[in-house]
Amino acid sequence: MSGAGDREPVFPTRQSLGAMKSKLKGAQTGHDLLKRKSEALTKRFRDITRRIDDAKRKMGRVMQIAAFSLAEVTYAVGNNTIAYQITESVRQAKFRVRTRQENVSGVFLPQFESWQKEDVGSDFGMTGLGKGGQQVAKCRETYTRAVETLIELASLQTAFVVLDEVIKVVNRRVNAMYARPAPLSSTRFYANGNGCSEHVIIPRTENTIKYINSELDEMDREEFFRLKKVKGVKERAAATEEEEKKKNARRTSDKENERQEVNGGGEGGGNVLGDEGDEDDLDAFEAEGFVSQFFLRAKDRWDQEPERLLRRFKAGSGNGEAPWKRFMSGVGVKRFVGFA
């Protein structure tokens, strides 16, 4: 995947994390739906392909018969102006075509169907009255059948073209959603050449979520460090103040110890982190910070992959390690201080 660095331009905030998550969810649902649609369309597509094959074969036979019946007419009538006579005597079409729409998984396919207009008389019914009339009638019948077949075929072919187009679009959308190579070989064929670059949205959203999570972690750590620092400074200030008070008190009461006390306070202020004397307080603070972080992360993990977590939780109880510890490391809390 080339998309490691590919993410959406968002600020790594909790709000956008939520937005991204809902987006991911939507994308996955959409992906499922589209895939289902694609499958339904493909099924229909194959069905149509098969019917086109049948219809074409049938058309071949019917057209042959029809052309031959025309030859019979020419034979019986004895001249070749019969076709002209017939076309000239027809004023209104009896055989007509209408369209309707058929809905296949949200795709509208045009369907042609033939019908015979009832009130139109057979204008050339008397053509060949003197001779050849029976053949003309016969020919008319066979050609009616031929045209019916043609219309059926036209309907199928149109559906074929439309469906082909729609399947391409849907498959491209499916591919655009997801990272996995498409299950159908045909989908890969339909993707525009450089296959994988099409799998865009879901990977990108996942990347963005990952990015936001890591940024949030980083910010948490920074915040934690900052708070610690502030606390240290504050304590130092408080200690200095204490010293001052003591010194003042001592200065008032005992003036000879003054210089010594000032030096000792200076030493304590040099240790900025101040993690020796105040360890207990600090740990409690740390724990508090981590607990909130832990719950958030645990919830995230739980949302994303509950099975895996449960598995880990159970597996953890097997090898002597405390299950909760495994669980904690499972949800990503690496350093868990002062909670035991």
Binding site: F68, T81, G121
Partner: protein
């Protein structure tokens, strides 16, 4: 017997020529060869001896219709030659032959005028045998009234229009009814001509031609009846289209005019053995079998349609016409035979072009 003495004085040459043409008609052997062909080019090659020059200009693998056009061209050329050499009653007789094609042409042009097409391009589609000098003038007319009053009057067909069709009819009636009305008038006129013309009456021409025209009249009556089932043609109108002569006339035609279904037709033609046999052969009327057994290839039905049987019968009559001598009827028979030959060639070519070899034997071979 006077025709035996004097016929050859004026018409002997033409008769000889026509008999010669008759001998160049394709035989069963030739058709056998044609049906073995794999491509239209093979057909063209097989037709070489009979049609030589006329097919030479065809491109490789011609369409069946252009092939048919070329075979028709040969008929037309020969007909024109015969016509040019004919005199007297034979010339008149041959004019009558062309009237049938004229009716088709005029009907075609009327259709074009009715639908306000450019009738000029229709002239190419007209049957060359039905060409008459004033035909291009038909294209000048832009509306039906003009066509009727100033143009049709000038054509040889004017007598057939007169009395039975007004110009309103041209506008309102179905063109097929007009065509068949004209054809009925034409047949009656032709029949009257062969029976009453002083030069023909009492000659074998009268006998042979009467038989042929009667058959033609009956065929039209039966066809019109069968083809009008299921159309808006009323029985009264239908009756008007039946020629007033023929073996079915008058009882048969009367019954035909009342027929509602193929069964009725069968009853109507029951009095004439030939037609009854035909109806039986097609299975029509017997058990209500479908009309037009020359069906669309699926069933591979070997049964012949009524049309086929009529053609068959026509060919038999035409063939027999050549057993007579000193008669104009050979010209008529020859034209019919040649037309059938053109149809046969077209049929075989179509079968080959469309790869429907199983039906290829459906042609009618006479000799």
């Amino acid at each position: 017997m006077s025709e035996g003495m004097f016929y050859n004085v004026s018409n002997g040459y033409v008769e000889g020529i026509v008999r010669g043409y008759r001998n160049t008609l394709l035989t069963g052997q030739s058709y056998g060869n044609l049906t073995q062909c794999e491509t239209i080019d093979d057909v063209k090659l097989q037709l070489g001896p009979a049609y030589g020059d006329f097919l030479a200009s065809l491109p490789p693998n011609p369409s069946t219709s252009s092939l048919a056009d070329k075979t028709l061209d040969k008929l037309v050329a020969e007909f024109r030659y015969v016509q040019a050499n004919a005199t007297g009653s034979l010339l008149k007789f041959m004019d009558y032959l062309t009237y049938a094609y004229m009716i088709d042409n005029v009907a075609l042009l009327i259709t074009g005028t009715l639908h306000e097409r450019d009738t000029r391009e229709l002239l190419d589609r007209c049957h060359p045998l039905g060409w008459f000098e004033t035909m291009p003038v038909l294209c000048v007319a832009t509306n039906i009234e003009e066509l009727y009053n100033s143009v049709l009057i000038e054509t040889p067909l004017a007598p057939y229009f007169k009395g039975s069709l007004s110009h309103q009819d041209l506008d309102e009636m179905n063109i097929e009814i007009i065509r068949n009305t004209l054809y009925k008038n034409y047949l009656e006129d032709f029949y009257r001509f062969v029976n009453e013309d002083p030069n023909i009456r009492g000659t074998p021409t009268q006998g042979v031609m009467s038989e042929m025209l009667e058959f033609e009249a009956d065929r039209r009556s039966i066809n019109i009846t069968i083809n009008s089932f299921g159309t808006e043609l009323s029985k009264a109108d239908r009756k008007k289209l039946y020629p007033n002569f023929g073996r079915l006339h008058p009882e048969g035609t009367l019954m035909l005019s009342r027929a509602d279904d193929p069964e009725g037709v069968r009853i109507a033609v029951d009095g004439v053995t030939d037609y009854r046999t035909m109806m039986d052969q097609t299975g029509m009327g017997g058990g209500g079998g479908g009309i037009g057994n020359q069906s669309g290839g699926v069933g591979g039905d070997e049964g012949k349609s009524l049309e086929d049987l009529f053609y068959q019968k026509e060919m038999e009559i035409s063939k027999l016409a050549f057993t007579y001598q000193f008669t104009h009827a050979v010209v008529y028979a020859w034209v019919k035979l040649r037309e059938q030959e053109t149809r046969n060639i077209t049929w075989i070519a179509e079968c080959i072009a469309q790869n429907q070899k199983d039906r290829i034997g459906n042609y009618i071979s006479v000799f």
